[in-house]
Subunit: 317 residues, 2 copies
């Protein structure tokens, strides 16, 4: 494994070459909105249903033979879990995933279907990082963080390498759902000329507030419930925050109703199944919360949603 | 307009060049099934939500200036209607669409949203072809058939030009939803080395029975109801039948429950919204009704489905 302290544009470009044969080149679909031609980057069509396979594959491909033999352990509400599980299965690596007990059933089932060993924890009373560390200490398994890792960030940024290739240019702006910030930071590195706007659910907008205040701040202890399970990250990382702060990025928050509207728009107009967290950036654009000039790219980051919830959102207008 | 009596492979290749800037190059997504790697051609992501924009664009681009001024008239249960309406709006052509009164509300609304004039008829008592002819005689508008037209068939076949380019080779087999057979015939022309299997809903499998009997036969008068509105074609055309018969193609029928299972599979595993008729080919593969060797392409031909119906199918397992 190379020695670097920060994720870099060169790291993202190298990751794009490394993982090319292991991931789907997801389509960039035209999105007409208020007379402008925008683009939707459909990462909900990625294998595993979210962009997470990119970072996980980039990380696991760089393990040594000895490290592969020790196995990997990850903590995740679902999409990173599934991405790590797929990459591990393909590379013949044993994977243990620490998931919250209230994770969507579909994410849990699909992670288990990849052959990963799942350990459930209580999101409100237990510390998933501590659980993963303990497993690592007991078994020697390599911890694969969901965003606080340069190779994970490099891998997620490959989304934007594809965007630039598909457009033949850097877009003026990219709007991105943001949990821990790995995807937003990776995209910012890959597209030095684009304005990158991370979007979070209301009350979970710690990246937006950190960028506003100039230092990392966590969510309030009374953060409201959100259907955007993929974006429920209590604290961002110096790595992801650092990239976005250096770029002068600004974040913003969307409401649950704006997210539901965006899921319905994706159903009606794009014929894509997008999960709540995956629709956050689209919600910001449709809600008029972010300037989206002609050519703006809206990332739809995932589509792993329970059918009952999806049906209720689609039928419930 | 060139003079030809039959659709041809050269016609399809010319159509692909002609419409290139007007349609989306839809993704070919990996589809793991029973240990084999198949491919899903996601025409539900086409502009207008179905492959129909291809044929409509190819036809309308070949109208003379004088013909464009007279306007166009089409009859369709929905997807062809929407495709013609989009192509007509872009080219500044007035469009009149004859639609069944029981067409899905989404298809009607989206066709109207493109500025087309819609005339409803009763599917059980009125003859849509006669209505369209009368409008054409009264107004001079050019009739744009939904499948019985060489330029429409040429245009639909461009789906397969993309498939061959995306794979870098012809696939061993393509499984295709079939209404009037325009898409199936166009694909067969574009891929001379592939086995093409048209799939219809049970009771509406007149193409399958025609190919079996060696002559065109219509549906029985007591054909059962089907949710596959896009595939409810009472009689195929000598043009589409002729291409498939010459190839020795064989068709097959799927049940309503197999179609619902395929819609759920597309939701769970592909994150694509597929309408009932658009899921017929996938239903045949998942139901084990057609041999699908490694590399088989399954066409998902459309995604225009009412939200209430979609929600009930997705939640109703």
């Amino acid at each position: 494994m190379e020695e670097r302290s920060f994720p870099t544009r060169q790291g993202v470009l190298a990751a794009a070459r490394r993982i090319d044969a292991w991931v789907t080149r997801t389509p960039l679909l035209p999105l007409e909105w208020q007379g402008r031609r925008l683009w939707a980057k459909a990462e909900c069509l990625q294998q595993g249903g979210a962009f997470k396979l990119r970072g996980a594959t980039n990380r696991l491909l760089q393990l040594t033979e000895e490290e592969r033999g020790r196995g990997v352990v990850a903590f995740s509400s679902g999409n990173h879990a599934r991405g790590v599980a797929i990459a591990a299965r393909r590379l013949g690596i044993a994977a243990t995933i620490v998931m919250p007990a209230d994770a969507p059933a579909v994410k849990r089932a699909m992670t288990a279907a990849e052959g990963a060993h799942i350990i459930a924890y209580d999101r409100s009373t237990e510390d998933r990082i501590a659980i993963a560390r303990r497993i690592s200490e007991e078994t020697g398994a390599i911890v694969v963080p969901s965003f606080d890792d340069i190779h994970i960030i490099d891998g997620q940024g490959t989304v934007a390498v594809e965007i630039a290739e598909q457009l033949g240019a850097e877009p003026p702006a990219v709007v991105v759902p943001c949990g821990g910030g790995g995807l937003s930071a990776g995209i910012a590195l890959a597209l030095p000329g684009s304005r990158v706007t991370p979007v979070e659910p209301g009350g979970w907008d710690d990246m937006a507030r950190s960028l506003e205040q100039g230092e990392i701040v966590g969510i309030a202890p009374d953060a409201p419930p959100t259907r955007c399970d993929a974006l429920q990250t209590p604290l961002v990382s110096p790595l992801t925050y650092g990239v976005l702060a250096e770029r002068g990025a600004r974040g913003l928050a969307v409401t649950e109703e704006e997210v539901a509207d965006a899921m319905r728009f994706a159903f009606d107009r794009l014929r894509l199944v997008v999960e709540p967290g995956g629709a956050a950036a689209l919600a910001a654009v449709l809600g008029g919360k972010v300037d989206a000039p002609e050519g703006t790219v809206v990332v739809l980051s995932g589509g792993n949603v329970d059918p009952e919830l999806y049906a209720s959102v689609i039928a419930g207008r």
